[in-house]
Amino acid sequence: MTTSHVDPITLSVVRGVLETTQREMTLALEKTARSSVFNLAHDYSTALFNHTPEMILQGQDIPIHLGSLIPAMKAVSDFFDGDINEGDLILHNDPDYAGSHIIDTCMYYPVFYKGELVFWTVCKGHLTDIGGPVPAGYNPEAREIYAEGLRIPPVKIWDRGVARHDVLNLLLTNMRARRDQEGDFNALIGACQVGARNLVALMDKYGKDVVQDCIEELLAMANRHMDGLIVQVPDGTYTGTAILEDAGHGFGDFEITATVTINGERCHIAISSPPQVPYFINSYEGNSYSGVYLGLMMFAQLPPPYNEGLYRNVTVDMGPKGTLCNAKPPAPHMNCTTTPMETLTDAVRLAFEQAAPAKVSASWGHANGCNIAGWDNRHDEEFVTMVLASIISGAGATATQDGWHACGPQCCFGALTSGDIEMLEHSYPIVIHEYGLITDSGGAGRFRGGSGTRWEVEPLSGEMTLVTFGEGRRIPAMGAAGAQSALTAKKVGRLELSRNGATQILTDNVIETLHPGERAANISPGGGGHGNPFERDVVRVLEDVRNGIVSVEGAQHDYGVIITDAENLTVDHEATARARQA
């Protein structure tokens, strides 16, 4: 149990206050932000760091940001080393300083106490635009990062308490829908302030030294906790390889391999990926950490709170610079928080499937979605947004239950909220014809993967640009523990464009222009199944058929359940037994 000199009761109190602080920062962000990507998608993180700077608390927010703020904070603090003053506020997005992708903007606020730097409050959020040639930043045609938007190395937007309006103006002038971006800057700044206020009050009450001792102990406890999980895994080397499909770049499919070496309480994860490519799927090192940590978390299955102590005995080698998972400038990268991150996560997950088979769950549907942009004639103004509803996929099944429907993508792990369709139609000049679950989309297994979704849109106010991103359109989400599906075509994503009475199916990332009367349906994949589908309880298969989650055809091919009368769900038990033996 506790081994330090810290009073155990004060320790619990300090932990409670830190969690409340993080929660209040999150709420402030969520309620005030303009960008639906961050206030609905929860595509943001709030974190607290100590002065060293080591992450002392991250909310359970979104896996995309799991850990990626750790190297980013260090890069920012190094950049301004010796020049960090009370009242400074630093902004940054550049992946070469361990940012994730440039549309994620981070604010770093140093918290001083009696003249001394003690903490940092940090927020990161996905804006709706970051300049560049393509609205919302995702440019499948970019061959360099410069064609994706504005790179912002660490820059002070407040200097000793004075806002640098010229710098802010420079940044905002380069972005679309300026009002929204400015509002989101304000939301990030407000959240940092809320955090700082609480931390100062905590030190007023217990004294700086006591608070710091408690935090040191919380980090040590998290470290011991993760050690305890890893030490249960037999020593050895475990390897997982996942395939990243070619979503339109023409370079073919890629393999990403994770090699996990367990030695006592130590865990080393080495990543091997092909050379970087002139397409927006490269991941710089900071972002890749999130993919690795998500794979680790799918094994560890820890409840919050999370701090950097968890990773003290976890070392990561992201492979040589200039590779897909350890990119260097000028590699384009905008898609990185989903592609290749989810494949990277799959590779780590597969390695752990060998290391700790009892704890493994199936992969979730990968992100494949769209951004929309155009002119809103109702208010005579520009609009641009990522459509969160378009990337809601099915969750992977676990060793104990079916995957949740409509809960992915994997990189978000249920942290998203997709937004009310009336609110979307109120905010943007569109009509959403469908937002529903898809029959047979969940991976077959003893426990079934969750269903993916279909999101169909039509513009109402002149032409609308639609940009797609992601993958998971050819390779379905991976099952676990022997799960496999027969009807794989129904388990992958795609874009269906309906124009002039014809429907075109697209599996590449594209930029399309839609007019009123034309429709685009974005289909998100289902999650992977868990275990042999022929062992799935027939009653549960029938319940799925009754609810249209599985078709009669799916029951036969995916589950070996032969239904002779679809209306009354009559089963031919003999034929079923035969089919299931095959």
């Binding site: 155990p8 619990s12 969160l388 809601i392």
Partner: protein, 706 residues
């Protein structure tokens, strides 16, 4: 001459509380076990108990009552146990899955938990039918209603034995005609079926919220209808003068037919009466800013009232179902007397949310409980009388409490039993303080500007500690504390919420006129209902709220305004109120940016006369009520000090005493920490005030929570 009574019956999870008041200020509390399988039975049992204790027959009370008021958990229980009616949903084609997609979200706190199950569907997918029809965001019809689709759905419902139907279409709030016509067809096809129409139940923008609210309502309506029919008939037989009024989670009363139509309003009604009770108890001090804390066996409920108005929640997840209608905000924490102390995987001491309940109960009950609970900590710290709770009817075993704390907490942590007990007490307090922040700080309020009021049997042990932690200097605890919610119900008013969507930007004469017309028409409906219910114009009041945001924001903040004419100039006042509220909540505002409204609401209230306060005879001296001394711990060092114990029943009005002390009432024990002074007021309320602050440290303590 016979007296006039008012009877309140508040069904809780474990107990059903009865409160009987008469016009002379005589108030009495009675408790009987709840009977969840047949909720009407507890009502009959309770009335029999009252007869046994007072000699008054049920007929005598009911026929001489100006009002009988009932708060029920029937709806809540049906939602918890998923035993509502078999329900069907008629929705816009393409959108029948919104209640299952749930915005694609998995609840926070369970992100990497492989065993956290999806929410149980109240309407399974095969009972959800899509209808070809579509209205756009400007209210225009894109696709007319396909009536054949509605009839086909009805056929399926009939075959499936559906009891209740919800109809909810996209943008029906801007063009209700499709829903109304569809409802008409359902009535033709399925005569006598329960019907919930989304745009009538909850006419607000947000399809998922509206559909989900309609589904919950439809799921509960048949259950509530059966309950209300039974209660109404029973009271009618007893000679009730007026129909029974039911307490709703919006903090108001409504007759049975309204509760049946709008069952969703009844789901969390019990604790929602605390603000009303608090305002009444605090009336002698004219306090209108009050935080109430109600600690029972398994949970701790908090409400906040500011300027005489309770915090309201809209569009929240309740028991994992999205519910739009306004409900009094009740923040609930798994921290009761039975909450178990344990050490987590990280090695940290935690309290709750697991509870020992009433069986086996805390270790000190001696009924086989071995885990240390909050009550065990109270006992070890000396706060509780080892002679027993409830006037000695429940003896407590100190040795068992000590053993449980030693084995499970003190030894593993390497500290003394007393320190561990005080640690348990402290962690419960911290959990409570963090929960109180959710109703105060997160709403932009400084808790130091509030009075703290204790309710429920177990709160008294924590009340001065909580006030100290929050920097609150004034505390009120009524002798009725253990039945405060039942009391709140008998002094509540009849209340209706009328809502409308108003998606418009807040500028120009047209916007002002639209808003003004909306409010006027909403309130006309409310006045009509109340007038039909016998309220005169002078007994009716109105309050208004608007859900507003900066254009581009996704979430709104709710701003309350007066019932003034909305004109070009008052439009500016409304905007100013929004900027101010935004700044209060989020540290900044953007006065140069455009503001838009999403939804509006008027609350129309019919005021009822209030019963008299309790009256306590003047006392001569607190010393006369001194009954004992016990060793008690008030410090983290675990060192005990000899502390006086007073008999609350022997204290008179005006009697004053100083902490450290304990006051024992029959159903509650009040711990007065050092540094606090207590005076019993003639209305039966203890006023507990912080002694003059010793300066800096107190201020620092206060700042720490602001």
């Amino acid at each position: 001459m016979t007296k006039t009574y008012r009877l309140g019956i508040d069904a809780g999870g474990t107990f059903t509380d009865f409160i009987l008041s008469d016009t002379k200020g005589d108030l009495r509390i009675f408790k009987t076990l709840s009977t969840p399988k047949d909720p009407t039975q507890a009502v009959k049992n309770g009335l029999a108990l009252i007869t046994a204790e007072t000699g008054l027959s049920a007929e005598e009370i009911v026929s001489n009552a100006d009002l009988c008021i009932n708060g029920t958990t029937v709806g809540l229980n049906a939602l918890i146990t998923h035993t509502g009616a078999k329900t069907g949903l008629i929705a816009t084609q393409g959108h029948t899955d919104s209640i299952e997609i749930r915005l694609g979200h998995k609840e926070d706190g369970h992100r990497y938990d492989p065993n956290y199950p999806p929410a149980t569907m109240l309407v399974p997918r095969h009972l959800r039918h899509g209808i070809r029809e579509r209205v756009l965001s400007d209210g225009s019809v894109r696709t007319p209603l396909n009536e054949d689709d509605v009839r086909a759905a009805c056929l399926k419902f009939r075959q499936a034995g559906v009891e209740s139907v919800a109809v909810s279409f996209v943008w029906s709030v801007l063009h209700p005609e499709h829903e109304i016509r569809a409802a008409g067809i359902v009535r033709e096809e399925l005569p006598g079926i329960h019907l919930t129409v989304g745009s009538q139940l909850y006419p607000q923008v947000r399809e998922y919220t509206r559909t989900s609210t309609a589904v919950v309502n439809a799921y509960l309506a048949p259950i509530l209808q059966r309950y209300v029919a039974a209660i109404d008939a029973y009271f009618q037989d007893l000679g009730a003068r007026r129909p029974v009024r039911y307490f709703q989670s919006n903090g108001g009363l409504a007759p049975g037919n309204v509760v049946t139509e709008q069952s969703v309003y009844a789901i969390n009604s019990g604790p929602a009466s605390a603000p009303q009770a608090a305002l009444d108890v605090a009336r002698p001090w004219a306090e209108k800013n009050i935080i109430t804390c109600d600690m029972g066996g398994t949970s701790f409920d908090i409400t906040l009232t500011r300027n005489g108005k309770a915090n309201i929640n809209k569009n929240i997840d309740f028991l994992r179902y999205r519910i739009g209608i306004p409900m009094i905000q009740v923040e609930t924490l798994g921290a009761g007397g039975g909450s178990i102390g344990w050490i987590d995987d990280m090695g940290l001491l935690q309290m709750g949310p697991h509870s020992a309940g009433s069986e086996p109960g805390p270790a000190c009950y001696g009924r086989g409980g071995e885990r240390p609970t909050t009550t065990d900590a109270h006992l070890v710290l000396g706060y509780l009388n080892p002679g027993g709770l409830v006037g000695g009817r429940l003896p407590l075993d100190v040795q068992k409490a000590r053993a449980a704390i030693k084995t499970h907490l003190a030894d593993p942590l390497g500290i003394s039993v007393e320190r561990a007990a005080y640690g348990m007490f402290t962690i419960v307090n911290v959990n409570m303080v963090n929960a109180i922040r959710r109703v105060s700080v997160e709403r932009g309020y400084d808790p130091r500007d509030f009075v703290l009021m204790g309710a429920g049997g177990a709160t008294g042990a924590h009340i001065t500690a909580l006030a100290r932690e929050m920097g609150i200097s004034k505390v009120l605890v009524s002798k009725l504390a253990s039945g405060l919610c039942a009391y709140g119900q008998i002094i509540s008013d009849v209340k209706y919420n009328h809502m409308a969507p108003a998606p418009l930007r807040l500028h120009g004469a047209e916007a002002a006129k639209t808003l003004n017309d909306l409010f006027t028409s909403l309130e006309a409906r409310g006045r009509e209902d109340l007038s039909a219910d016998g309220f005169s114009e002078g007994e009716i009041s109105v309050s208004r709220t608007l859900d507003m945001r900066y254009v581009g924001q996704v979430h709104e903040c709710t701003v309350e305004i007066g019932a003034f004419d909305v004109t070009l100039s008052t439009l500016e006042d409304i905007k100013a109120a929004f900027h101010a509220r935004h700044k209060e909540l989020y540290t900044y505002d953007e006065p140069h940016n455009a503001v838009e409204v999403v939804n509006v609401e008027s609350t129309v209230t019919g005021h009822l006369t209030k019963p008299e306060h309790m009256h306590v005879a003047p006392g001569k001296s607190a010393a006369r009520a001194l009954k004992d001394h016990r060793d008690m711990v008030f410090n983290a060092d675990g060192v005990a000090q000899n502390t006086p114990v007073y008999d609350g029943g022997a204290l008179g009005a005006g009697d004053t005493l100083h902490g450290p002390a304990v006051i024992e009432e029959v159903t509650t024990t009040i711990v007065v920490e050092p540094g606090w002074t207590v005076t019993l007021h003639e209305t039966g309320t203890y006023l507990i005030e912080a002694d003059t602050a010793p300066g800096v440290s107190r201020r620092q303590a206060a700042l720490a929570v602001a």
